[in-house]
């Protein structure tokens, strides 16, 4: 009986294998065991029915949801594992802890963060450190150089992200790169770039829409030789301090804080300062040129090896890098040329009083400082003379320096005692010259003869 039962178990199992797995029909199987056919048939039919009913596929929507959730759980597990010993705490608290550690004591965290990448937990610390560096860097030129170095880090990050096939993060870092490089151009061009040379900060424009009459500012230039153009004409370029016409010193304003140093010392100081400025700009330009080439090479190399999904993002990064570097170089080129126009030692001296009227060049960056001196005229006469209203006047007057300073600007070409005023004149002169160049640029261009609107603007600005 036991044997028969076992035999039947085996025959049923064999038939099930043949029917369910091998795809045979019930009849085929029963033909192999005709003695058991009557007993086997209902059992096989039951199994087939049960199998048919239980042939269930999970709903597609459930399957995809379950798969997604499972993948998420997989990722979370992997992240936990990678976070190691501090996996017990949320990711944000790790970042906060790192920042606090950085601020309070540890240079270790900052060091580690310095090499972190955008997909790593310490990356925010890296950005915070960079921001701190920018905050404590005062000089615009140094700041511009720092931005170049930060751009170098951004490029390294982009290359890294390209290797990780992370196009969204590349876009994000490219935006940071764009901002960094844009700042270089702005810092190179902006008048603020002169802060590192001790320039005075201009007063707010609204404070000087209606400047009070300052008769003391009407400086008396040397009488122009007969037959020569009055000194109110626009000069074609900014003369070097050493070539500027020594004129009669204006009267010292009461309460002036300017000490009268010796002429030789002051001239030298100004020359050194100007030279240093030129050097700094040349250095920055060289640094930018080097990084520009290096960055383009790196990004193009990354583009070659990158997966197709990130190529578009890399192309955008390359475009941003090239365009911004060009912009920065152009800005520095303009500034450098401007600076190089006035090397004190090399600029040829202009004959005293020989202010030949010349047409004003439209290019604002290379336009010379209009350090002309208007012939002294009675105040009422000047007020009554027709002068076209121009915004440049307001711009030129938008600074409200000490009368002493303004007088110094007017006289810098003429005054023999420039050394007595250098401390006030030099810083202001730079801002002032910028403004005057702007004024000249904005002025309508005429035939360049005496009394042209541009000349008048200059005169007024000088006033």
């Amino acid at each position: 009986m036991m044997r028969k039962r076992e035999k039947l178990d085996n025959i049923l199992n064999e038939c099930l294998e043949r029917v369910l797995l091998a795809g045979e029909s019930v009849e085929e199987c029963l033909q192999s065991y005709p003695d058991y056919a009557e007993e086997l048939r209902p059992l096989l039919d039951t199994v087939l029915s049960a199998r048919q009913v239980s042939d269930i596929e999970p709903r597609a929507e459930f399957k995809s949801r379950a798969r997604y959730e499972f993948q998420q759980a997989l990722r979370e597990k992997a992240e936990k594992k990678s976070r190691g010993w501090f996996s017990w705490q949320p990711a944000w608290s790790a970042v906060v802890a790192s920042i606090v550690t950085f601020i309070l004591v540890s240079g270790v965290t900052v060091g580690a963060a310095g090499n972190s990448m955008p997909d790593q937990p310490l990356y925010p610390v890296k950005l915070a450190t960079e921001q701190l560096q920018l905050t404590i860097t005062r000089s615009p030129l140094s700041k511009a150089e720092l931005y170049v170095r930060l751009a170098d880090k951004r490029v390294a990050e982009i290359v890294y992200l390209a290797s990780k096939d992370k196009s969204e993060e590349i876009e994000s870092v490219t935006r940071r790169l764009d901002t960094n490089l844009e700042k270089i151009a702005v810092l190179s061009m902006a008048p603020g770039a002169r802060e590192d040379r001790g320039d005075v900060t201009p007063a707010k424009p609204e404070a000087i829409q209606e400047p009070p009459p300052r008769p003391g500012l009407m400086l008396a230039p040397a009488e122009p030789p007969e037959g020569q153009a009055p000194p109110s004409e626009a000069a074609p370029r900014r003369p070097a301090l050493s070539e500027r016409t020594p004129l009669k010193a204006p009267s010292q304003q009461p309460g002036s804080r300017v000490e009268p140093p010796t002429e030789k010392t002051d001239e030298e100081a100004i020359s050194i300062e100007r030279l240093q400025q030129i050097k700094d700009r040349a250095k920055l330009r060289a640094v930018i040129a080097r990084y520009a080439e290096n960055h383009t090479d790196k990004l193009r190399k990354a583009l070659k090896n990158a997966p197709p999904s990130v190529k578009q993002a890399l192309l955008r990064a390359i475009a941003v890098s090239e365009a911004r570097y060009k912009e920065a170089d152009k800005a520095l080129e303009g500034e450098q040329n401007d600076s190089e126009q006035v090397p004190p030692e090399t600029a040829p001296k202009r004959p005293q009083g020989n202010l030949t009227p010349r047409k004003i060049a439209p290019a604002p960056r290379t336009a010379p400082e209009p350090t002309k001196v208007a012939p002294q005229r009675p105040l009422d006469e000047r007020n009554s003379s027709p002068e076209p209203s121009r915004p440049s006047r307001n711009r030129a007057e938008s600074y409200k320096p000490q009368p002493e300073t303004e007088a110094g600007v007017n006289n810098i070409e003429q005054a023999n005692d420039v050394e007595r005023r250098k401390a006030t004149i030099v810083p202001y002169n730079r801002n002032r010259s910028e403004e005057l160049r702007e004024a000249l640029k904005d002025a309508p261009e005429t035939d360049g003869s005496t009394g042209s609107p541009a000349d008048t603007a200059s005169s007024k600005a000088i006033d």
């Binding site: 039962r5 076992e6 039947l8 178990d9 085996n10 049923l12 199992n13 099930l16 294998e17 369910l20 797995l21 209902p42 059992l43 039951t46 199994v47 029915s49 049960a50 199998r51 009913v53 239980s54 042939d55 269930i56 596929e57 999970p58 709903r59 597609a60 929507e61 459930f62 399957k63 379950a66 798969r67 959730e69 499972f70 993948q71 759980a73 997989l74 990722r75 597990k77 992997a78 594992k81």
Partner: protein
């Protein structure tokens, strides 16, 4: 088997791809096993997900001791089922009018299928625990007898006998209603 061993070993080391492959291999089978035991698709879906999440959490506790990986996985499924049934204190599925249908399916077909599933499930509920397991593993998950034997930790002969008795009992229940 060697491939599966390799996959499990990689999954234990944190290889996401390896674990995903194991998931794809067993997901439908585990689901069928559960849905036949439960008689309700929605509940079976929840439990199936829990089985794989549990497997993910405790993959490192799995050791090769002769039993295949599927035996470990089905044991998790079995434990999850028992827990679920104990918590809900029920043995049969929700009423037919509470069937949730897939939005893109034929309602009539779904209802008929669901009805069949529930009938089969209801019939299976009258079997012994071992018989239910054999029916589910053999005819829903389509596992070979040797594997079912390993999962249930019984001899192949014992499984064949269980299979026979389960089919006879099921036939009786279904014919008699």
């Amino acid at each position: 088997m060697q491939d599966e061993k390799n996959l499990v070993s990689r999954a234990q080391k944190g290889d996401e791809v390896a674990f995903s492959q194991l998931y794809e291999e067993y997901f439908d089978k585990i689901y069928r096993y559960i849905v036949i035991r439960m008689g309700d698709r929605m509940e079976a879906e929840d439990i199936t997900q829990q089985v794989f999440l549990k497997a993910l959490q405790s993959i490192n506790s799995f050791k090769w001791k002769g039993a295949p990986f599927s035996a470990w996985l089905y044991r998790i499924a079995h434990n999850q089922l028992v827990d679920y049934l104990r918590k809900t204190k029920r043995r049969t599925s929700v009423p037919l009018d509470e069937i949730t249908l897939a939005a893109d399916s034929d309602p009539q077909e779904d209802v008929e299928k669901e009805f069949d599933i529930r009938q089969l499930s209801a019939a299976i509920q009258h079997l012994t625990e071992s018989q239910r397991a054999v029916i589910s593993l053999r005819f829903s998950s389509e596992l070979p007898i040797a594997e079912v034997a390993r999962i249930m930790d019984k001899s192949e002969g014992a499984i064949k006998a269980l299979q026979h008795s389960a089919v006879v009992a099921l036939r009786k229940i279904m014919v008699e209603g």
